[in-house]
Amino acid sequence: MADRKVAVQLTGLRKRFGDLEVLKGVSLTAHSGDVIAIIGGSGSGKSTLLRCINFLETPTAGEVRLHGELVAMKPDGEGGFRAADPAQLNRLRARLGMVFQSFNLWPHRTVLENVIEAPVHVLGQNRDAAIANAERLLDRVGLLAKRDVYPEMLSGGQKQRAAIARALAVDPHAMLFDEPTSALDPELVGEVLSVIADLAREGRTMILVTHEMQFARNVASEIIFLRNGLIEEQGKPSDVFDNPKSEALRAFLAPKY
């Protein structure tokens, strides 16, 4: 397995907001085909870690490699860093499909237009080819009938499935999910999780932040337990869930009621 391509690699990643250091040196590697689930308590830095991968937050220190390429950083003049080369960053970002907790679909574009937006206007694909591909993806997430509808008219589960189709449309090197079902009514969680599980089975590279432990255990190839900005435990789901080593993880996994 050593020759699998590295999709995402973080080395010694740190992030501070003012006086608060949220990430204190996190390293992780996602090879292509890996499904990495990040778990941890509220405020442990899970979202921040995920957002540092595509520089929605700029790391304060450390390195980010996407598809083997180091994202160039330079001092921002205020003691932090920023991406040194916007064109490089945008090129690398374009091949990471991100799925947000609150969907973040573009409200002024139909479902189909949301899906073809990045392929056409960022990757420069031919519009007809992008539409054909988008229809295939919408069919796959069960939304082909809604292709010409605006996001406002969709249920939460449908919005999130549309967002997943949008992520797939860039043929991502890795998909990033930040609590993709947390904003959904309980009865809609299943339809979204089953789409993600399907993608995992198909060998998509994914890094996902989730509070759905059963789901993480079933689909992830690796679990990362984040606590206070550091990786406290890491390993195969069976090891992490069945034999937690740290007291903190045991407490985190224990039934809350």
Partner: protein, 241 residues
């Protein structure tokens, strides 16, 4: 229909001695000045809003002074300051370089004042519109690798326009009425013509009501126009009736 007899309808005839033609000419002037002031004002507004949202701190401060000051001072006073103080300043300057007195054009002063005032309000309308765009829309654009320009064109602008249009159409209606203030510096727009007609014929109600009818017509026509523009640009927005 007795009250119809309180006037002499021939007073509104288009040709002299009727005042209809003069009133319409005043209305044309009103629309011209309003349009000039409005368009320049909206350009100031777009630039001002960009500066307020994306600009460096010193620019934000400067724009805050501009919008606060202009919106605090009555427009009538602004017009008087700009017209008389402006004329005085120009003439002092002209005398210094050995020229005779300059006649400041009322229309030019009018457009200047209205665009300055409109610019201040429009800056606020457009700034609020930009800031009411859900941040997730820009976050998604960044996550999918859109450049700044593509983001502006494909995300910011189309989301900004429907949010700014109601405020901007309101500003247009205000601009048409602001022109009436120019009568104080003797610029012959609709209100001044109506006043002159009323004064010389003593049929006050007739001419002021005629002027009202013309202002109302301008507003109604504008509303049809803005409604169409709003309908055209509100893609994907839920209509709250």
């Amino acid at each position: 229909m007795d009250f119809l007899n309180i006037t002499d309808w021939s007073l509104l005839a288009l040709n002299s001695p009727g005042w209809g033609g003069a009133l319409l000419w005043g209305a044309v002037k009103t629309v011209q000045i309003a349009l000039g002031g409005y368009i320049i004002g909206q350009i100031i507004g777009v630039c001002g809003a960009m500066g307020k949202v994306y600009g460096p701190p010193w620019l934000k401060e400067l724009l805050a002074i501009y919008t606060t000051l202009i919106r605090a001072v009555p427009e009538l006073i602004l017009i008087l300051i700009l017209f008389y103080a402006g004329t005085a300043a120009l003439n002092t300057l002209a005398a210094k370089i050995g020229m005779g007195p300059i006649d400041v054009n009322g229309a030019l002063a009018g457009v200047l004042v209205i665009s300055t005032v409109q610019g201040a309000y429009s800056t606020e309308v457009i700034r609020a519109a930009i800031q009411s765009i859900p941040s997730g829309c820009h976050e998604a654009a960044a996550a999918y690798g859109m450049s700044k320009w593509t983001t502006f064109k494909r995300v910011t602008l189309p989301l900004l326009v429907p949010r700014a249009l109601p405020g901007m159409s309101n500003l247009w209606v205000i601009a048409t009425k602001e022109t009436a203030l120019l009568s104080v510096v003797g610029f012959s727009e609709l209100a001044l013509v109506a006043k002159q007609a009323a004064g010389s014929t003593k049929y006050y109600m007739t001419f002021f009501l005629a002027a009202c009818a013309i202002y109302l017509t301008i507003t109604l026509i504008s509303r049809v126009f803005f409604n169409q523009v709003e309908a055209r640009f509100s893609r994907g927005m839920v209509k709250h009736k």
